[in-house]
């Protein structure tokens, strides 16, 4: 069912207000030192992982492919952005900080380079089905890691230091909104329906005239772009890059976040990326138990909720409001297939 324009605007305004409120509250808490530096760090890390997980959900959940090289794209974005911010500088322009502009441009550049890499490996890889794509992307991630280890500009195996600590809550939040909005608008558009139909049945999709390769590449490249962005944020969060940062494990971790949250649920990815980033931090004191608890958590969720925490359900602020205010007026209609993901729930 198509929703009418009015409710679309209503939802947009509602969600914008909620995001803004969330942003202001957190900013205030950081300013007032209610959130100390340690918590702010975790919060930034959460946002970085949310961006990566939501973007991976696009290829994994909506397109239905199994890529294992997400960390490779993050790595490209991280190094690209870091190289740019450490070598160039932009003078301040009145109230606009040159540093911020540089960081924005560097992040976009990192995203674009990751996207180009996504297109280059996606073109051959996405023609293959199932396991082959997983293997190719896995190999891609490793190739990037080895490449980074052996070229000069990335500092080789020594790593790359001296990166400015630019990633703050503001940037993290901004890009989170970007990736959520992009993913949400894409998957609920006509093109999104085509992407989902590829997941449902490739032969059927092809027989109604959907260009499989094109839509696969669109989803894959979009995911790669935001992986690059999250890589850039990561680089300017930890300020020191080494090739090992973006190994095979990180790709798997991303995949776990997506699967745990629910394939095809943006809010699911947000929630599980949040939980899975915070849990290891909280368990820091029981370091030896950390992996056991982490694994148990996964096993338990997969046993009791194999479709992930959220399945393909989305949290919706608009629906909540409707429920509260119109409880008596009308009975709920048929479940709508798409609803607004709410960005403010971490």
């Amino acid at each position: 069912m198509r929703e009418n324009r009015k409710s679309f605007f209503g939802r947009t305004i509602l969600n914008t207000c909620l995001c803004l409120a969330f942003f202001l509250i957190v900013e205030y808490m950081i300013g007032a030192k209610i959130l100390n530096r340690y918590y702010t760090n975790i919060l930034n890390l959460v946002l970085i992982y949310v961006i990566a997980a939501v973007s991976l959900n696009l290829t994994c959940g909506y397109l239905g492919q199994l890529p294992l090289g997400h960390a490779g794209f993050m790595s490209i974005g991280a190094y690209t952005a870091a190289i740019i911010t450490t070598r160039f500088s932009i003078p301040d322009l009145g109230p606009i900080s040159g540093e911020a502009v540089l960081f924005l441009l560097a992040t976009i550049a990192g995203g674009i380079l990751a996207m180009v890499a996504g297109i280059v490996i996606g073109l051959p890889a996405l023609r293959l089905k199932g396991d082959y794509l997983a293997i190719i992307t896995l190999a891609f991630g490793e190739i990037i890691r080895v490449l980074v280890q052996n070229i000069k500009i990335t500092g080789g195996a020594m790593g790359m230091g001296g990166i400015g600590r630019y990633t703050g809550f503001g940037w993290g939040f901004f890009w989170t909104i970007m990736v959520v909005a992009f993913t949400f608008l894409l998957v609920n558009s006509r093109h999104g329906r085509a992407i989902k139909s590829v997941r449902e049945d490739e032969i059927a999709a092809e027989s109604v005239g959907i260009n499989l390769t094109y839509y696969k590449i669109v989803a894959f490249a979009g995911a790669a772009f935001f992986a690059g962005v999250s890589g850039s944020l990561f680089a300017h969060h930890i300020c020191y890059l080494e090739p090992g940062n973006f190994g095979y494990n990180m790709s798997i971790e991303m995949l776990v976040m997506v699967v745990l949250g629910g394939l095809g649920s943006i809010s699911g990815s947000i929630i599980s990326a949040t939980v899975l980033t915070i849990v290891p931090e909280v368990l820091q004191t029981f370091a030896s138990w950390k992996m056991i608890i982490y694994s148990l958590l996964l096993v338990v969720v997969m046993i009791f909720k194999p479709s992930g925490l959220m399945g393909d359900y989305e949290l919706s602020a608009a629906r909540l409001v409707r429920k509260v205010f119109r409880k008596k007026e009308e009975t709920p209609k048929l479940p709508e297939n798409y609803t607004e993901g709410e960005e403010t729930d971490e």
Partner: protein, 232 residues
Amino acid sequence: MLNVTNINVYYGNIHALHDMTFHVDDGEIVSLIGANGAGKSTTLKTISGLLRSRTGDIEFDGHSISRTEPDVIVRQGLTHVPEGRRIFLSMTVEENLDMGAFTVREGRKKSLDDVYDRFPRLAERRSQIAGTLSGGEQQMLAMGRALMIRPKMMMLDEPSMGLAPILVSQIMDIVVELNKSGTTVLLVEQNARLALKISHRSYVVESGRIVLTDTAENLLNNEQVKRAYLGG
């Protein structure tokens, strides 16, 4: 309308279609009949671009389409209802139909109304999830989805598969109606009697070759066909 000339299709090293040559004229219902694994579905998949032939040529509506991408072929008005229906199970009926019109920008509403006119059952169930439809309804949906582009020609792969006899005859009636309203039909069926009853002409396919062709009427009375495909 459709001219297939000497196509040879391989699955890896396996030679699946041998020098297939046949044609479908404007306004006809033509059927390909034959046993399981004879190459009927392979033929349809090759025409719609899902498979490629190594040699030969396929011409549709005056253009060669043997090297054309599947989505472009659909745009030219040749649509394929694949075997096993292959509707999008987790989408609603209406979303499925909407996907059918993916390649056309205008006149969707009209197409949708036409499909609902032809299949009132689908109209009743427009917001139902397609996976919960019965087999017959799913077949209707698959055909309705293909009709959304107002095709010049429709290829149907085993529309009777897995359906109760009453539904089978309903589906066949629909095919005939479609044809009367101007759609050329290429039908693939294992149920030879059924196919011959509604076709104008037919080709008998065996092991990837066309072994016999005639008008449907003649084939129904052909001793060889009777023995092999019509049960005596």
